[in-house]
């Protein structure tokens, strides 16, 4: 526990502990929530859902010059090993069922980062195209949005730092502090015959066929 006391003062508030200086040594008081949040946020293994151009910056962020490892982020190709899905790139209607399936394969607790304008809203492909999903938040609960086309590797790393703060704010006891929804929004929507009003008509039919709870 001594190493906890060495963290810089900026992260003290996020950790939620207080140190008591006495003649004998450091005593650390903390709550289960703060300890759990701290340890979860410290090492977020990433599932690189790289589909298009942004994936290049995702690779750049994990290699020598920018070095993701120093943030504890370690890209793993298996969804079951990972905590955070980084959606980097355009998601098309054909790709959407695959992304949903991979998200479902990740173990709880899990988070999603939408990297790049395509993942946020369709970006440059918002207008005049028939095949692009206008943002992953139409079918996944997104925690952090990173703008850019593509975002610089530094912005991606800043997104990870922001996600870390969100993770630390989460609580194990229900209803006490910030708690995010992890269920997939569209899955709770009615059958494809009645498309939800808020989304483009093309998005609804393609989302449902993949896996209706049978």
């Amino acid at each position: 526990m001594a190493s906890l006391g060495k963290t810089d003062s900026a992260s003290d508030s996020a950790l939620g502990y207080s140190t008591l200086e006495s003649g004998v040594g450091n005593v650390i008081l903390t709550s289960a929530d703060a300890l759990l949040g701290w340890s979860r946020g410290q090492s977020l293994w990433a599932f690189p859902m790289g589909t298009a151009c942004c994936a290049m910056e995702l690779i750049a962020a994990s290699f020598s010059k920018f070095d993701f490892d120093r943030l504890g982020v370690f890209p793993r190709q298996g969804p079951r090993h990972t905590d955070v899905m980084i959606v980097a790139g355009t998601i098309t209607e054909k790709m959407k069922p695959v992304v949903i399936r991979l998200y479902e394969q990740m173990a709880e607790p899990k988070w999603v980062i939408a990297m790049g304008n395509c993942a946020i809203s369709g970006g440059i492909f918002y207008y005049d195209t028939y095949s692009v999903v206008r943002g992953v938040d139409q079918f996944l609960p997104v925690d952090v949005y990173i703008a850019g086309c593509p975002p610089r590797p530094e912005s991606l790393q800043d997104g990870i730092v922001q996600l870390r703060n969100l993770v630390r704010a989460e609580s194990v006891s229900p209803g006490v502090r910030y708690r995010r929804r992890t269920e997939i929004p569209l899955r709770t929507a009615p059958a494809p015959t009645t498309p939800a009003p808020a989304e483009p008509a093309s998005a609804a039919p393609a989302s449902a066929p993949s896996k209706d709870p049978a």
Binding site: M56, I59, F63, S64, K94, L102, I124, Y127, Y130, S131
Partner: protein, 369 residues
């Protein structure tokens, strides 16, 4: 009866999200034990309708879309598209702009080949190579950032020239980098192609003969690895390439090793080209004067092709006389090359599939468009 069951082929799905598919390609395999009997490539997971979108944009607005095709080498699609528009609208390009285009495209070739060679290493179990290669790529990307402010999606080449002139000291920075680069490339050569494990994984895998390469329409390093000396920079010398001396690298065996090594050796040629181009580059304007914002080529069509890092990249535009193209089509080398996987993969073991696919160097943005 049990014998028959035992001999059944197993259908295995690889992708679309798989580390060895280099993007969102999907391959359906029929396996007989560990041996691939049939490989069917399923594409379209990144189909964004860029060709259709181009019909609703003005000629200038299409340039950013071309960035997103081959995102490992954005400059090529920029240039190929702009050449087609210049041909259709009879726009001249200043000499300095042509030199700048050659310089950035050869730099892009190094950057793109580094990605490909690095991932060949990663596919064959030499991940260190990937890290080293990406470091070399990163240096080129930084020079691009100094030139046009973007790391990946440049939109640098515009109809009639280029977007920005080289900032002060940029040419010297490029020259200094090009002097350092061969050392790094040689190191990479030893690290990957001198490594006995990587050689064992790459040699004799996915062999394509010279006749097959021609018959199947392979271009770029995939064709040159099989001994076809096909290089548009030589055969249909465009821009200022006739004034520049360089060699066309060809392989002998047409296996994954030769294709990957061709790419690495081409980087040395690119260094030569860049050094010559920078010394020859004249002063002057970088964009032809008087190009309207709404370019409206006369009725007709135009086709232009260049040698991209993946092969012959052709762009075909049709104009109906209006300010928007009637049709834009990209002849994408990645699409033509990656479709060879169903010919090359059968009778190899499953673990060679990634190596063969990596040696074809697909970029799915360009395959699916």
């Amino acid at each position: 009866m049990p014998d028959q069951e035992f001999n059944q082929e197993l259908v295995v799905n690889v992708g679309p999200q798989h580390p060895s598919t280099h993007g969102v390609g999907r391959i359906l395999l029929n396996l007989d034990g560990d041996i691939v009997r049939k490989a069917e490539l399923i594409i379209g997971h990144l189909h964004r309708g860029i060709e259709k979108m181009a019909e609703n944009r003005t000629y200038l607005q299409v340039v950013p879309l071309t960035d997103r095709l081959d995102y490992v080498g954005s400059m090529y699609a920029n240039w190929a598209y702009c050449r087609a528009v210049e041909k259709a609208a009879a726009i001249d390009v200043p000499e300095r702009a042509e030199y700048l285009r050659v310089i950035v495209c050869e730099m892009q070739r190094i950057a793109s080949h580094m990605m490909s060679v690095g991932s060949s290493g990663a596919d064959s179990g030499a991940f260190t190579v990937f890290v080293y290669a990406f470091d070399l790529r990163e240096r080129i990307v930084e020079l691009f950032e100094q030139l046009c402010g973007a790391r990946l999606t440049y939109s640098y080449v515009r109809p009639g020239g280029v977007a920005f002139d080289a900032p002060d000291g940029w040419a010297d920075a490029v020259l200094a980098e090009m002097r350092k680069l061969p050392t790094g490339l040689e190191e990479l050569d030893k690290l990957l192609f001198g490594n006995v494990i990587a050689r064992g994984r790459l040699k004799g895998v996915g062999i394509m003969s010279t006749e097959q390469a021609i018959a199947w329409g392979a271009t770029g390093p995939v064709a040159r690895g099989s001994g076809v000396a096909l290089d548009i920079r030589r055969q249909d010398a465009y821009s200022v390439y006739p004034r520049i001396g360089f060699d066309v690298v060809v392989g002998d065996n047409g296996d994954a090793y030769d294709r990957a090594r061709c790419r690495l050796l081409e980087c040395f040629e690119s260094v030569r080209i860049i050094e010559q181009a920078i010394t020859q580059m004249p002063e002057g304007p970088i964009l032809t004067d008087g190009i309207p914002r709404l370019i409206a080529p006369p009725k007709g069509d135009a086709y232009a092709r260049i040698e991209s890092a993946r092969g012959t990249l052709g762009v075909y535009t049709v104009s109906d006389g209006g300010a928007k193209p009637y049709r834009v089509h990209f002849r994408s080398p990645a699409f033509c090359n990656v479709s060879l996987i169903s010919r090359l993969a059968p009778s190899h073991v499953l673990s060679d599939l990634g190596v063969i696919l990596g040696s074809l160097d697909p970029v799915f943005g360009e395959v699916d468009r």
